[in-house]
Each structure stands twice: as C-alpha cells, then as structure tokens.
Subunit: 392 residues, 2 copies
C-alpha cells in the first residue's frame, strides 16, 4: 500500500512507527466549525490483505484514548494492541480474511494532525489554535483515507464508545459506503452526566499551571498532574462498582494497617494512581480536551431535525448493536435508543446486551459471548457480501 | 446552655457564629490512630429546649461537606440550613418538641478542631500534622459533647451519607445512649468505587501547587483550583444520570450554538463550575482530605471480627433505615446489608427505599414520602420513649 510521510508538518515528539499519509493536500476538509483544513496527516495501521475487488475492508474506529495500534504492540507502552484479543489471524476479526484499517483520529496525538502537531503556518505546535473538531470531522478524514486506499465501500465499520459514535456517523453520512455497522457500548448523543465527567477532566487539566493556557509544548513542559487526575476520574467511569469490588474491595496495598495519612493505603488507590501516571506518558493533554469535546458535541439526531431515525432512513447497511449490562457510562438504554431508531426505519438490525460485570471497559476485554455473537454477525454479513467463508 | 469559647486554639479565619465549647481539657480523647487529643474545640448549634428529664434530645450528624448549621442560615453562604426543610418548629424533626443538637465534626472546618485550626503546641495551623481521624473518633467527640450537655441518653441519632456512618457508629459503640437510630443513604463500609472517587478528589487537591504540601495556610494561599475539581467530581456522584438529564439534558448555556472551544457551552458544565467555585469559599482543602479519608476507613464490621451483625448484638435501639432508588453512590444494596445485619440479631428495624430520581442528594432535598415515613417512625418512637405526642 502506497503511503506518504508528510514532512511539512513534522511531529513534535519522537516519530511514531507505522503508516502515515498526508491527505487533503488539494481539497481541504470543511470542518463543522467552518474552518477548511488542508494537509492533514493521518497515522494508521492495516492488517491483512485487501482482496482484488476491494470488498473485504473493515474499518475499526478507536475510542477516546485509543489509537491505531489495534493489534500491534503499542510503541510507547510496549503493551499488546488494544483489541488484539479480537483482531488477528484466525480471530473474530480474522486478518486472514479481512483487510483491517484503523487510523488515529483527527485531533489525536499518535501521529494524526492534532493540537500536539506543528501548525505549518506558524511553525509552532497548534495548541489551542487547533480548530475544534467533531465526530463528523473525524469521520470525514477517515473517508478521505478510505478514498486514498482506493476503497469504495467498506465491508464493515466497527468500534466501541467514541469509536461507536464514529460508526453511527459513518452509517448515517456514508450509508452507501458501509455494508455492515457494529456500534458497541455507545450512544447517539452524549448524556449530561457524561458531559459532566468530561468537564471535570478538562477542568483538572486546565487547572494545572503547567498547562500554560494550552501552550505547554512551547514551554517544554506537560500538565502531567492535571492529566493524571482527568484520567483517574475517567477510569472509574470505565469500570463498574461490582468490578471494583471484585478486583480490589477494601484490600490494603502492601500494608497490614492503614496509615492514617494520604498514601495509597488501598489497592484501588494505588491502581488508580498507576492509571493516571502511565497515561500521561502516552497521551497529550490538549488532545484530551479536543476529543472529549468532540464526544460532548455528538448528537446525531441534531443533524436530522432531532429525529434519530431520520439519520438512517432508507439505509441498506446491516447493523449489530452491542451493550454490556454493567456499563453505566454508555448504558444499554442508550443502545436501545439506537436500535429503536433503526427499527423505526425498518433497518436490518440485531442487538445484543452482553452479561458482564466489567463495566464500560468490557468492550475491550475478554468477553467470549461478545466475541461469539460478533463472529456470527460478521460471518453472516460476509456471506451476504460475497466473501469466502471462515476456514474451520 | 453553658458554653465556653476556648482561646488557646484560636481560629485562623473570621470567627464563625454559634456555640463553641472546649472539650477534653482534662481527659484526652484517644483517637483510633493512637494519638491522645486534648482541648478539642467543638462548634455546634442547638434548636428547641431540652426537657426536664433530658429525654428529648436528637443528635443530627452532618455529611462530608455539611456542618452544624442544620436549620440556621449558613454564615458563609447566606443560604438556608442544609436540613431546614426537615428540622424546625412544626416540621418532621419538630423543634417545638425536641432538643436538636448538631456539631461540626472533628477534622471539620467550621469551628471544630481540625487541620485548619491552630495547633497550640506550635502556634501554627495544624495542616497535615493534624492526626488522621475516623468516623469513630468523630463520634467519640460527639459523645463528649453530649456529656457536656448533661444528656445521658439521646432520644434519636440521625444523619445521611457520612452522617449515617456516624449514626451506625453511635448505635454500635454507644448502644445504651441511643433510643432510636436513623441511618440514611449510607453504608456500613465504604466501597472500592467510593474510595476511588475520594482518591481522585484528594489527588486533584494535592496536585494543585497552591496546596504547598498541605501548608498553604502558612503561605496565605488556598488550593482553590484543586479543591474545585474535587468538588465537581464529587458533585456528579451526588446526582443521578436521570436527574442530570432532567435538569440539564444537552441544553446550551446562554448561547444558540456551540463554541467549538472549552468555555462552558452546556448548562451542566456551567452548573458544575459554579459548584466548584462556590465550594472553595466555604470549605478547607485539608479538611476535605481528612474527612474523605475518614469515610474511606469506615468499615464497621472490621471492629467486630468482620461480622456486621456483631456490631448490633443485644441492641435495644430501634432503627429506621432509608435509601433512595436512584442513589448509586450509597445504593439500596448497602442499606440492605445494614438491615440484614440488624435482622440477624433480631433488632427492631424498619426499612424504606424511597422512590426518587434525585440520586444521593435526595436525602437533602424535598422528598415528601421520606419526610412522612420519618415522621411516622419518630412519632412512634417518641410515644414509646414517653414523650408527648405531636400537637395537630
């Protein structure tokens, strides 16, 4: 696959391995905020081979703090790809059969143009001069990438959480280019509670003096403390009360008695602190502001006179919607609203609520029932799409 | 009522109106951490008149960020007392019939000895030199106050959230001094999720450079930003998803379109920011650390060989336990554990789960069913206790 590395907009930190292409060189992408953005670098990974008819492509959309290293070892953390349980040779998303694409979102911080990158017009990092982006903007850029890869129609688009928002956006705005859509643990509009949690995270970042009004990169510092607090708050919302209880309960961390102080007495505190500390090594604070904002703004029905069903009118896409019983951030109720809208326009939709006590994070974890149902849907859709069967 | 203002330990800020007494002048209070604390100032309010037999006293225990201004206008905010809907002449807790006492907790910041006050040994604010306190320590100090007031046995002890923990502690450790106990929206042990949320709040405070390692009072600054973030996070947990949806939904704040920036576009953001900003005017950051820690440490069964029922063995106290359907911070499940323990020792207990969509905060709000059931329990208990009936 031909790829281009664009040196007009170099990265501010060590170059991230993987594929990168500069898109919108001629025709800018018109963002929802009204700004035309050109020369958009997109970092992405692919897995498997595109078949001759270019009909076996699956686009995976990543979540808030995810990236395109779906099934590769992460270049910063050294950990396995975030969906390596699901994606790979012989796995549910079988890279022996499908050509899997995942790109870092617009506004991200793993190689795609975002606030961390250099604004070629000023020669300095974008920071808060970066235009506000939306889920629709992310998808517009993904569509350009799919154009670049010469793919007319995707066999499937799937993703969880913010990735699921992108799936819904794809299905609504590019219906003819999506054969099957799998929105997972997501919602068609961000709830007040979820906006509230995001706002707390942003306030934590912006309260950190090292944020420097968004200009920390110019000062060669990072708002590590604020970003860690933001991550800690968010992390609690990704789990469930029962998962936290099962995993940690009130167990103490490397001690027999409490300290009567503010050390991490409890294992759950130590775990959360670790989540915060490690996150800052791999994520950009401004990128966190932009992407949480994009999620807050997501309200798909808003583009269709307030009626979500209108987003899917006359769709030929086949849908499979997933939720998880203990996910209180993107609860089953939110998935049911999507299913209801799809049913209202007689779309082809199946829905599964997976029994799990792992909370929102369940979509990233080992959930055999989820994998099994997903495999069933994908295999059925592949057959309808004229793709060869899974080899047993 | 005779009260003493102790000038050995003057307050660091403007004196707070109300009653204050210096307790443990001779006999120190032995805290759970092993430290003996003397000369403990306790700020408190009383409402109504103590009868001749001293049998009509009700102790109200306040929650994390509450104080003793239950039914008085708050001296800092100018707002009505936090339970003025419930407590007053002719109200559910009728101050024409009962002598109501509420004291600021040990470790608090509204006049009772805590990290904000001057350590008489050093002449400087305690800060992090203040000993770690527990719910049991708070109750030990309350018991001294009740001694000071010449009351042998309380007619009732009631409180919600952290106040409810104190109620359980009173019923367990001072069973003979409590005729009726009303723990509301509480739990007998703090859950991993709740510890996690508290830890995020503490990290937000301690991440603020103005916290100065806890010594901010000596530098005449306050970690306002960190404390505001802590409050914002906590505030979300006090509400329910449906309450946030009903109250704010996705309504924009004084604008027709989003800003594509990080202003408070949504009303829920503006509301949360307001909660954070106003909180710092009335609360001390170190006090927040100490009191959240006290809640984290609360595990009543831990004092009774891990069996909560043992805490209430042979109790003669009558209990009425309340929970609220949409409270996900202190869910009904936690109240049921208390009720189960009480049932296991054949205690006299009634339990009511109140239908409300207002989340944990419901116990502070206008909930007619809650008030009605509470009145019924109190009136019945008063009759058994030989107190005159409510005048209709």
């Amino acid at each position: 696959m031909a790829t281009t590395t664009n040196n007009n907009t170099p990265q501010t930190e060590a170059t991230i391995p993987g594929l990168q292409v500069c898109l919108a060189r001629e025709e800018p992408v018109r963002l929802d905020c009204g700004i035309d953005l050109k020369n958009i670098n997109v970092a992405y990974q692919t897995y498997g081979q595109l078949n001759e008819s270019k009909s076996n492509a699956i686009l995976i959309c990543h979540a808030l703090t995810g990236d395109h290293f779906v099934a590769d070892v992460h270049p910063v953390t050294g950990k396995p790809g975030w969906w390596s349980e699901l994606v790979g040779p012989g796995k549910t998303i079988d890279t022996d059969r499908f050509f899997v694409i995942c790109s870092n979102i617009l506004g991200g911080c793993m190689g795609t143009t975002g606030p961390k990158e250099i604004n070629s017009e000023t020669g300095k990092p974008w920071g808060l001069d970066f235009p506000g982006v939306t889920i629709a903007d992310m998808v517009r850029v993904q569509a350009r990438l799919i154009d670049h890869l010469g793919i007319d129609k995707l066999f499937a688009v799937l993703g969880g959480s913010m990735g699921g928002m992108q799936v819904l956006e794809w299905a609504a705005k590019f219906s003819d280019r999506v054969f099957a859509a799998i929105p997972i643990a997501t919602e068609a509009r961000h709830s007040a509670q979820n906006i509230a949690f995001h706002e707390v995270g942003r306030q934590a970042i912006m309260a950190d003096p090292d944020w420097c009004g968004g200009d920390y990169l110019s000062h060669d510092i990072r708002p590590h403390r604020g970003l860690a607090v933001a991550r800690m708050t968010a992390h609690i919302t990704y789990l469930s009360q029962s998962a936290l209880h099962r995993k940690f309960g009130r167990k103490l961390q490397e001690r027999d008695v409490v300290s009567y102080g503010f050390d991490a007495d409890f294992q759950v505190e130590s775990y959360l602190r670790h989540q915060g500390i490690t996150f800052v090594d791999r994520f950009d604070a401004n990128s966190y502001l932009y992407t949480t904002r994009a999620m807050d703004y997501f309200d798909l029905a808003g583009d269709y006179d307030g009626a979500l069903a209108n987003a899917f009118r006359d769709t030929k896409t086949r849908f499979c919607v997933f939720s998880f019983t203990s996910d209180w951030l993107f609860p089953t109720k939110a998935s049911r609203e999507i299913v209801r809208a799809l049913n209202a326009v007689a779309a082809n939709v199946s829905f599964a609520e997976i029994e799990s006590d792992k909370g929102h994070d369940a979509f990233l974890l080992h959930e055999p029932e989820f994998f099994r149902l997903m495999a069933g849907f994908i295999d059925g859709a592949a057959e309808l799409h004229g793709l060869p069967r899974r080899e047993d």
